[in-house]
């Protein structure tokens, strides 16, 4: 449903469409349609007027005709009355000069009557009623004429009374006055009718004239509106194009990049402010000059010259051509773009835009340089890493062999001496040698494990941490036999990572908690995770053991760093270093809180969207599952 408002909106559109129909006519049809309209406006009323006027003329002619007829009737009537009056005079006053003259008058009047009647008859040929009356009138006159002549004769004979009687008889027998009056009346009626028709025609003509004038006015008004609208449209289009031109001009002028318009021979047509400023030229001076001459020869570039020459004939464009220019004694790198475009007159022109990319180029060069340096450093780091790997490989093989020999031969020496009489000192020294070698072997093994933790590839799998913790606690069951240890295990969320490595973390942390709470009874070990909606899980292991001084917390996670003497608590001091390394490789952090005699809490975090590991591991290989040794 359309509301009233919408309807008027639709009407507006319809009207517009009507206009549009005219405006949208092809130009070669517009003019004929316009001429046709003007013809209709001017000629049609004239035709109407002409026609109506003729009708009025006809009506007027009819009025005149009626008057003529009436006049003739009266003429006939008067003739008869004259004849009658004269016949009376002649009959009643016989022998007087008047009667003689009257006799002559009667003859004249009666003689005139037939011709007048003929004329009347001719005038009223179109009216049968009048014709009939004329016939009766003619009969009356013809009846009265002998009576009149007899009256005159009776008058001459002195028989006045007889004449009077004859007159009366004649009048009664041949009434013509009534007939004539009837005719006049008829004619008057016709006249009135015709006058009325003439008046109606005149009114109609007047109406037509006014109507035509109104129609002309209306049409002229419509033409005016249409042409006004046309003009408005043209004005709007002109304004729009002016505005567009001004806009384009302002864009060109305010563009910080130098722009210039060249003709087909690369002569400057115009330059923008940026061009003028950068190349130190003024438009007035350089207009018409070849581009090569402008700006102190900055554009004297044979390659660009060739490309510009090819631009129009081959319909090419120049895209981001990098050129080096000397501008004001300074070397600048410019990106040049150029494309042909047709001017308003159809001439092919070239728009050339330059962009100063010197700074960007410099930065790019710096970036390239930095990248090269970085690549060199990465290369160096890789070399160092390879050397480290070779070193640790060498350590694992070559350092352990002599140790094995020391312990082996010390043992064999011991066996050898035992057969003889060995002294206690020799035995003790051999024992020390073995112990030291063993300890060194352990240290080397720990170091190798630590080194491997940093190098080996990491699995990326779903790890059930709660299960790992259960396994680890079970693992320590044997060691903790005979001790009272309360394990409190809270909810521990799973995470993604390397199960074997994470198990090592729990082994170290829970093992430490058990080890350092040796003297507490009962020992209490809490394992859990902090409730957190953070994008990382925080796990912890808390004990009520000996704790540590926070002063030394920074040493806790170092390789072979120990806060206790070897004879107090066994271990090489590699465990927490491994923990930190593994947690770091999972993208997390490891930290500790504690107090001497108050126990310690070791925590580590594992992000749930781990960042890409710094080293790029090789595709994972299957770990051999065969039992060794």
């Amino acid at each position: 449903m359309l509301s009233g408002k919408d309807k008027s909106f639709v009407d507006t559109i319809r009207r517009d469409r009507l206009h549009d129909r005219f405006f949208n006519l092809p130009p070669h049809l517009k003019r004929p349609v316009l001429f046709l309209l003007i013809f209709l406006i001017v000629v049609v009323p004239v035709l109407f007027y002409h026609n109506a006027n003729r009708e009025v003329d006809e009506a007027s002619a009819w009025v005149a005709h009626t008057a003529t007829v009436e006049g003739k009737i009266y003429e006939v009537l008067y003739d008869l009355r004259d004849a009658e009056a004269a016949s009376r005079t002649a009959a009643f006053l016989p022998g007087t000069p008047e009667s003689q003259k009257a006799e002559a008058d009667v003859v004249a009047a009666l003689a005139a009557a037939p011709s007048n009647l003929d004329a009347l008859q001719a005038l009223t040929l179109d009216n049968p009623y009048q014709q009939e009356r004329i016939g009766r009138l003619r009969a009356s006159i013809e009846g009265r004429a002998p009576a009149m002549r007899e009256m005159i004769l009776l008058g001459r004979a002195g028989q006045v009374e007889a004449a009077k009687a004859l007159l009366r008889q004649s009048i009664a027998a041949n009434p013509f006055r009534e007939v004539a009056l009837k005719m006049v009346e008829e004619e008057k009626k016709l006249l009135a009718h015709r006058t009325e028709k003439a008046a109606r025609d005149r009114r109609e003509v007047a109406f037509l004239i006014w109507g035509a004038a109104a129609a002309q006015l209306l049409l002229f008004f419509a033409l005016y509106v249409v042409s006004e609208k046309d003009a408005a449209r043209r004005r709007q289009a002109e304004e729009a194009s002016l505005e567009a031109a001004a806009y384009a001009q302002s864009v060109v002028e305010t563009n910080p990049d130098p722009l210039t318009v060249l003709d087909g021979a690369a002569r400057i047509r115009s330059v923008n402010k940026a061009f003028a400023a950068l190349y130190g030229v003024e438009l007035g001076q350089v207009r018409g000059e070849p581009l090569w001459e402008a700006g102190g020869g900055a554009w004297r570039l044979p390659d660009l010259q060739q490309r510009l020459a090819d631009l129009i004939p081959q319909g090419r464009e120049i895209w981001d051509l990098e050129v080096a220019q000397q501008i004001g004694g300074e070397r600048r790198v410019m990106l040049v773009n150029a494309r042909p475009f047709p001017s308003a007159s159809g001439e092919k022109l070239i728009l050339l835009a330059a962009k100063d990319v010197t700074a960007r180029k410099r930065i790019e060069e710096q970036i390239t340089l930095l990248n090269q340096e970085l690549a060199a450093r990465v290369e160096q780091t890789n070399i160092v890493n390879q050397e480290l790997e070779a070193f640790s490989y060498s350590v694992s093989h070559d350092l352990r062999a002599p140790l094995r020999h020391i312990t082996g031969f010390a043992d064999m020496l011991n066996t050898h001496l035992a057969k003889q009489e060995g002294d206690a000192k020799t035995e003790r020294y051999l024992k020390y040698i073995r112990e030291s070698a063993n300890q060194m072997g352990t240290l080397i093994d720990d170091l190798l494990v630590f080194s491997r933790m940093g190098r080996s590839e990491m699995a990326e799998e779903e790890v059930n941490m709660a299960e790992l913790v259960r396994d680890v606690i079970k693992h320590f069951n044997l060691e903790t036999e005979g001790r009272r240890i309360e394990f409190a295990v809270g909810p521990i969320p799973s995470t993604r990572g390397d199960a074997a490595m994470l198990k090592l973390v729990w082994m170290n942390l829970i093992g430490n908690a058990i080890k350092y709470s040796r003297d507490a009874d009962p020992a209490r070990v809490e394992v859990g995770a902090l409730p957190s909606d953070q994008p990382e899980h925080v796990y912890f292991v808390r004990d009520n053991g000996v704790g540590f001084n926070m002063k030394y917390v920074h040493k806790l996670f170092g390789v072979f760093q120990r806060l206790h003497q070897a004879d107090e608590y066994e271990g090489t001091g590699i465990g927490l270093a491994n923990v930190r390394r593994i947690v770091q490789r999972h993208g997390g952090k490891a930290w500790a809180d504690g107090q001497v005699g108050q126990g310690a809490t070791f925590s580590f975090s594992i992000p749930q969207q781990p960042p890409p590991t710094p080293d790029t591991p090789a595709p994972p290989l299957a770990w051999p599952r065969q039992p060794l040794t």
Partner: protein, 149 residues
């Protein structure tokens, strides 16, 4: 009675040789132990060429290979043994100073029968070698390559 076949030990370090021989001898394993000091010699022995051209045609019961040896190392000897139709049935034990993953993976990939990390502790070493010798050289029933006798 099982006939006691030879054990081939390829080891470049004389001290390790002595320790290994001590361990094997300790168990009174009567097998003859042939010791070579590099992989080339080991291959010569296995292929009966060079210095070993005249040896009896029987294959050794067990080959103990040190991983790191001059000239031809243990892995190459292993590859040669396991790709040779006549030699592939001989059990091979790799002896290494370390549990280096790469070596382990390559060895198992080549089809080694056991990979043993030489322990620093002498006793453990002795036990390991004894167990190896006993299992592979005495109990293990290896298929005999068919020979025209």
């Amino acid at each position: 009675m099982k006939e006691l076949r030879t054990i081939l030990l390829a080891e470049d370090n004389p001290k390790d040789v002595e320790l290994t021989l001590e361990a094997l001898g300790d168990y009174n394993l009567a097998n003859e132990v042939v010791v070579v000091s590099n992989g080339e010699a080991a291959l010569d022995y296995l292929h009966r060429r060079g210095a070993y051209a005249d040896r009896s045609p029987e294959n050794p019961a067990l080959v103990l290979l040190d991983l790191k040896m001059p000239k031809v190392d243990g892995l190459e000897v292993l590859r040669e043994i396991k790709s040779n139709e006549a030699l592939r049935v001989i059990p091979v034990v790799m002896l290494s100073s370390s549990r280096e993953e790469r070596d382990l993976l390559v060895s198992y990939g080549l089809g080694v029968n056991a990979y043993v990390v030489k322990p620093v502790k002498f006793h453990e070493f002795i036990e390991a070698v004894k167990a190896l010798g006993l299992f592979w050289a005495f109990f293990n029933e290896a298929p005999q390559p068919r020979k025209a006798e």
